[in-house]
Symmetry: C3
Subunit: 310 residues, 3 copies
């Protein structure tokens, strides 16, 4: 499913199911639906089989399960419709970014997830909460000292928050899944998570925000994408990837504050924006890409792109 | 004027005049001014004559008449200046979107109308209301059951709201204008309006929001653009266009909520965003475009583009 | 440093130092750091030497000094990190805009300055103020009559506000620096400043907002960029540039209102957006560019681009 590696996919499903079996069902259903719609519309078979058409719809279905009410039939129906629309949006994003030879990452998912969560309060049948969540962003408050016990949990929650989950052992399971697919990827993910925690602590983020992983999951994704997936893993690209991970951590509250007055969430926007910027820039730095420029979106994506989405 | 069909243009003017003669005057003046500025700057004659340079300025002038005070001389002056600037913005948008071979639609109008309505409260001489309209978006409230009488009015208001008008008979006149130009276009507009109402009702929008047409006018525009104008009318494209119409309906509150804290309006942003995404994606779906890819922006636009703007 | 003219650079440094020596130090340090990072990453030597890689980092460091606390060590560290990241963002923006042959202007600076100022309240160690500055935008209030004494000061503050400074004599020093580099540039800057004041007054902006220069600095930058730097200075382009300057003035509160609920500032966004739109459009107006299209970003920028950033 993810990573073009069936074992890793099984581990991820298990990890999701460990938190809530309905989340696992939504994610699996989303992946299947997204792939089927793409096949129905005669999208190139290679893209569908490597899971490229499935991971955005998988994330979208999971997002609906978490932010709306996973138990309502209306959420199931909405997720079904969303999986059809995300196929269209993916096709559009792939074509728009092809001009710069950039991969689509989780941009289709971010676009639709933001649109639906921001629009949802206007629709009584799908909105489970009483009022709107829109609010002006406030300044940080609370202690900044992180107890050692929380440090470890923050480290794993940076992985589990990719799937909106608070449980640190889900992060551990995800890391195990990554390890099954590639040892380098697992090491890079650890470096990314550590960079995220370090950056957030150095900037003075409240300890509670660091511990719950909401400031660091984009750092993990950026590190994975920039060191191993779209640029070859090497000491120079690792440094570059960790600069990217630190940037994504600092950018995360910016995106959250931008969308807060409308009731939106950061999702993986910081990952998408930072990675696209750093990938585009990489081609201007001869020291980074000793070989020919790396990310060519279409041909390389099947092998690795799903990793950052996982 | 619109639709490259003089009779349809006359019907539209009549429809606007029926609501308020000043609105008709603004719209007509805007179209004339936009075309003149373009001619003054030596824009290609073909674009000007088919009305391509006029419809964005026509909509912009009308928007100023509705959202500011139509009776003030300052509004007339601002609309005049706006018509000059919209010509520049149109030229820029056409060049930017040419990379993807996409039509400019009403994007220039949306950009300027949003900029002016959001900036207006800062300028005492043009702002007719007391305070700013900026507010955090709230959750929907009110009954969701739509009385049958309102259903019919909603159906026509989905057309009249394209021109910011509440009167359902304006929508009827507009539909008559469309029918004069093309029977297919009129049928597609009806299907789009029905899809908009159905989607909004299924998602649980308050009946009042459905009845006043503010949730459905983008659906009509998307259906027109995707079935007949930029893609050939056929059963497959009709289905695709109605999926687009449903998407635009769901996206409308998202845009409204995004701009509400700044005091902005949705205008035809949902139409522009949805249509551009669906048009770009259409080229990746062989089942949709049996023939060579459809929307090539420059060469096809003269014949049909004005329709979605109408 | 700026303008590829050492004397002008010295005058600018003097102007900044006149307001606060620390601001001068930040700006100088930012320029040096930005250039060094670019050299370290083996960016083309020509770009670095003409100062192209330095002016965005110079503005960014200055912005941190003004909006955060110039005296804190954390601000110095953040500015250092920001200068490394802005090099990456500049490389990305240059590549993204190359598709349309557009210059990067101060877009990299705007992106990072907005991200950091919006994110800052989430980080206790870098945020010097108590609470968040996010607020819903309000309507204008206050007298609109501008006393003659304030008129002169507004004229010069439109220049000094480019560097966030209120002191009118800083603007005078900047104008002197421009005059040293090019007499035409100084005249165009004056015309831009006058257009900014006139537009703001005509639209009914409160006198206090005109006098402090916050409504007019984008007009100066747009006038400089469109008449002399990216389009050849001529009567036709001067008119076009002043239309651009008026547009940027009207757009400034729109950007400010859009970012206000998130706690952001307008920075030079209005300049960037207006100039990019007017430059792209210029190629469609044969009357403006008698010769071949002007702004080709890479080859012409070394000679003039720093001017608008100054």
């Amino acid at each position: 499913m993810f990573l073009a590696d069936a074992r890793a996919g099984a581990a991820f499903c298990l990890a999701l199911g460990a938190a809530d079996w309905r989340y696992g069902a939504y994610a699996l259903g989303g992946a299947v639906l997204g792939s089927s719609t793409a096949r129905l519309l005669h999208v190139a078979r290679a893209r569908v089989e490597t899971g490229l058409e499935g991971f955005n719809s998988c994330l979208l279905a999971l997002c609906f399960a978490v932010f709306l009410d996973a138990g309502r039939p209306s959420t199931v129906l909405l997720a079904t419709a969303g999986c059809a629309v995300v196929t269209v949006v993916t096709a559009a994003v792939v074509r728009l970014l092809r001009v710069w030879n950039l991969p689509s990452l989780t941009l289709p998912y971010c676009l639709l997830a933001s649109a639906v969560t921001i629009a949802a309060p206007a629709f009584g049948r799908i909105w489970p909460h009483g009022g709107s969540l829109a609010a002006l962003p406030g300044a940080a408050s609370g202690a900044t000292a992180l107890p050692p016990g929380e440090l470890g949990r923050a480290f794993f929650r940076n992985l589990s928050q990719i799937f909106f989950l608070d449980e640190w052992y889900v992060g551990l399971l995800l890391l195990a899944g990554l390890l099954l697919a590639s040892r380098t990827a697992a090491l890079v993910a650890c470096a990314g998570s550590a960079t995220g925690i370090l950056t957030a602590w150095a900037l003075g983020a409240p300890a509670a925000r660091i511990a719950d992983g909401t400031l660091g999951y984009n750092a993990v994704l950026v590190a994975l994408a920039l060191c191993g997936v779209f640029l070859t893993a090497a000491p120079a690209t690792l440094l570059y990837a960790l600069l990217g991970a630190a940037t994504a951590t600092a950018v995360t509250p910016a995106v959250a504050h931008l969308l807060a007055p409308s009731g939106g969430h950061a999702f993986t926007w910081p990952f998408v924006l930072t990675t696209l910027a750093f990938l585009t820039a990489a081609r201007s730095f001869p020291r980074l890409t000793g070989r020919a420029p790396g990310a060519d979106g279409t041909s390389r994506q099947p092998a690795g792109a799903p990793a950052p989405a996982a």
